[in-house]
């Protein structure tokens, strides 16, 4: 496991790969901002957040090198999301199902 980690993590990414990722992030930023000005009101924030997820994946996979990372690193990255899902899921399960006594 260690030898594969070294071989993969020490790989030098090409400058081109990095620049393409950086440029695509700026294009996605322009897209996020443009969507906000579309002439309808519902769902725009959901689209903007969806694009933000794509941006996050570009940063995590290319710049943070999750693509080449070993399994143990993936476990920590996924664990972070899982615990947020538990935190947000249980919190919203409470708030979204509360019934006001006043009706």
């Amino acid at each position: 496991m260690f030898s594969s980690l070294k071989a993969k993590m020490s790989d030098v990414p090409s400058a081109r790969t990095l620049n393409v990722a950086g440029l695509s992030l700026l294009v996605l930023l322009a897209l996020t901002t443009a969507v906000a000005y579309l002439p309808f009101s519902h769902g725009k924030l959901i689209i903007a957040l969806g694009i933000s997820w794509v941006k996050m994946l570009v940063v995590a996979l290319v710049f943070m090198e999750l693509r080449q990372a070993g399994k143990t690193i993936w476990v920590f990255a996924i664990a972070g999301f899982l615990w947020i899902a538990v935190l947000a899921g249980l919190t919203l399960a409470d708030f979204l199902t509360r019934i006001s006594p006043a009706g």
């Binding site: 996020t32 940063v59 979204l96």
Partner: protein, 223 residues
């Protein structure tokens, strides 16, 4: 065969690094430790994002109205600055692996400058908010922008707390990059100078990702 006089000699001859048997294991432990730390940071910010979700569901209208007091131009400009800084940090990591120390220092310095530019714009925005009475705290002359002062207070509280904590993280990141650039210049890093650059890079990218979500939630929510 060399004579290994002291324990230090024996450790050096074995290829050990500090408490690690070799560089590879040091690398493995460092990456895993940093990702474990980032997972706790995800939870820290996750709690704040969850708070935003709860209040947004309750006070959707007030949130979209209050969001309009923020400048999309400056929000977008700052997002672009942070995204470019992530690219320059990625180049710093690349240069460090190629053992190009001068180039690495240059990329680190550029990234730190971009971080400072971000903070400068943010402080300017906060100052404008303060002048216009958007600080949501009691004695500071809060001037509610809409018809739901309590919900607007909550939005602005979340805005100042989340961008403030993000700014603090960025400030720490700038300190890390500057200290690395200086130590790189003075040749004070070990014979594996790429490792601290890579680890600081992971932190910087994480702080960038947090902003990627703050931007639409606060600046674009009302458009």
């Amino acid at each position: 065969m060399p004579i290994l006089n002291t324990l230090d000699d024996q450790v050096a001859a074995s290829g050990a690094v500090g408490q690690f048997p070799d560089r590879m294991e040091e690398r493995h432990a460092s990456f895993m430790g940093m990702w474990a730390f980032l997972a706790t940071e995800m939870l820290f910010f996750g709690a704040l994002f969850t708070a935003y979700a709860v209040y947004r569901i309750h006070y959707g209208e007030a949130f979209t109205q209050t969001s309009k007091v923020l400048s999309v131009f400056w929000g977008a400009a700052n997002t672009a600055i942070l995204l470019v800084s992530s690219l320059t940090v990625a180049h710093a990591v690349r240069a460090s692996r190629l053992k190009r120390k001068a180039e690495c220092g240059l990329w680190l310095g550029t990234s730190a400058l971009l971080g400072l530019l971000f903070l400068g714009i943010k402080i300017m925005e906060w100052a404008t908010d303060a002048r216009e009475g958007h600080l949501p705290w009691g004695s500071l002359g809060f001037n509610p922008p809409g018809l739901h002062p309590e919900a607007e207070r909550i939005f602005l509280n979340l805005y100042f707390i989340m961008t403030g904590i993000h700014g603090l993280h960025l400030f720490i990141g700038i300190g890390l990059l500057v200290s690395l650039a200086v130590r790189m210049r003075r040749n004070r890093l070990s014979d594996a100078p790429e490792l601290p650059v890579e680890i600081a890079g992971l932190y910087w990218h994480f702080v960038d990702i947090v902003w990627i979500f703050l931007y639409p939630l606060f600046y674009l929510a009302g458009r």
